[in-house]
């Protein structure tokens, strides 16, 4: 079964994604921060990495660079909803969302997902990146 590593500092988001992807038959690991995610990947490289962009300490763009530096073929999905808004809702069209995802793309993300996304978008993005 293809494996997926999810890196998101919001535990409930990570767990929700885990449930969706496990139902689709993927083997899923969830970690709560950038450093932790990179270490988890080094221990057990996943086929697909899904990382949030805005996280405390190590942000997603650095996660992507760290993984890309050693693993050119790993498939990576970056996700963001703007960040830095505290309790406010995700803002998919916000300047920050666009900028963060553009930075993630430039760092080597294969796909970007704008929060909020639904489970079909998530599953479709993962499937697109896996060999048929």
């Amino acid at each position: 079964m293809p494996s997926v590593l999810i890196i998101d500092d919001e535990a409930e988001v990570g767990e929700a994604m885990r449930r969706v992807l496990e139902r689709e038959g993927f083997t899923v690991t969830v970690t709560g921060g950038g450093n932790e995610g990179v270490l988890a990947f080094e221990r057990n490289p996943a086929d697909v990495v899904i990382t949030d962009v805005i996280m405390p300490k190590t942000h997603g763009v650095d996660v992507i660079r760290a993984i890309r530096a050693k693993h050119a073929k790993t498939r990576i999905i970056a996700m963001s909803g703007g960040g830095n808004f505290g309790p406010l809702a995700y803002e998919p069209e916000a300047i920050t969302t666009s900028a963060y995802l553009a930075a993630a793309k430039q760092a080597g993300a294969d796909e970007v997902l704008t929060k909020p996304f639904d489970k079909h978008d998530l599953v479709a993005a993962v499937r697109r990146l896996l060999p048929q």
Partner: protein
């Protein structure tokens, strides 16, 4: 799309600098000539890269953000300065515009606002995003600064004209407005014609739309 703009980006967040570079690099006629993370670097980069436009977040220079804008405008008055920030406090907006900022956009606004601002500034115009424009025209922010009057015709309205435009926005007809303000029908017509001339509006519908979009409908 922007016309041949050489842009310098000043922001204390590396990911934002990277992201803006990546985002704007895709626009026709835009060249990113450099980035800076703080006030001192920004001043140096302005001298070294001679940009046409500076996109700056106050946060990159803490409490001296507006001083930085003032300093840069003194040295390079022709340099277009766009503030791109999360800060929406009235006193900061006002200080930035007084210091000489040519545009002000909030980071959590739609990206189209950023592209529009770059386009307008590159054509020598000023630009306030929708959220900021509403603060300014509703009187929360006094934006008297270099050229402020060009973008804020509403500030030239008299108190009576403001009363009239509010009632137009509330859907009232001339006779109703006259009755409410205890004025004659002809006097209201005169105020209406005057405010339309000042705002460059041709129809009553345009007046109502202006009033609603500029915050006169609920105050």
């Amino acid at each position: 799309m922007p016309r041949n703009s050489r842009i310098l980006i000043a922001d204390n967040h590396g990911i934002m600098r990277d992201g803006l570079c990546a985002l704007l690099a895709g626009l026709d006629g835009v060249e990113i000539v450099g980035t800076a993370a703080n006030g001192a670097d920004t001043l140096r980069a302005v001298d070294e890269t001679t940009p046409d436009m500076l996109i700056v977040d106050f946060s990159c220079c803490a409490t001296t953000g507006t001083d930085l804008i003032g300093q840069i405008k003194k040295r390079r008055p022709e340099l277009r300065i766009l503030v791109l920030t999360f800060h929406k406090e009235d006193y900061l907006i006002e200080a930035a515009l007084r210091a000489g900022a040519d545009g002000y956009v909030l980071k959590n606004e739609d990206r189209a606002q950023l592209f529009c601002a770059i386009n307008m500034l590159s054509e020598g115009k000023r630009y306030l995003s929708v959220a900021i424009s509403e603060r300014v025209t509703s009187g929360h922010v006094n934006a008297q600064g270099p050229g402020a009057g060009r973008t804020r015709p509403a500030r030239t309205l008299t108190p009576r004209e403001i009363e009239v435009i509010k009632l137009i926005a509330a859907g009232q007809r001339t006779r109703e407005i006259a009755r409410q303000l205890s004025l004659s029908h002809k006097t209201i017509e005169k105020h209406r014609a005057s405010l339309m001339r000042k705002l460059g509006l041709k129809t009553a519908t345009a007046v109502a739309a202006f009033a609603i979009t500029h915050g006169y409908h609920d105050s």
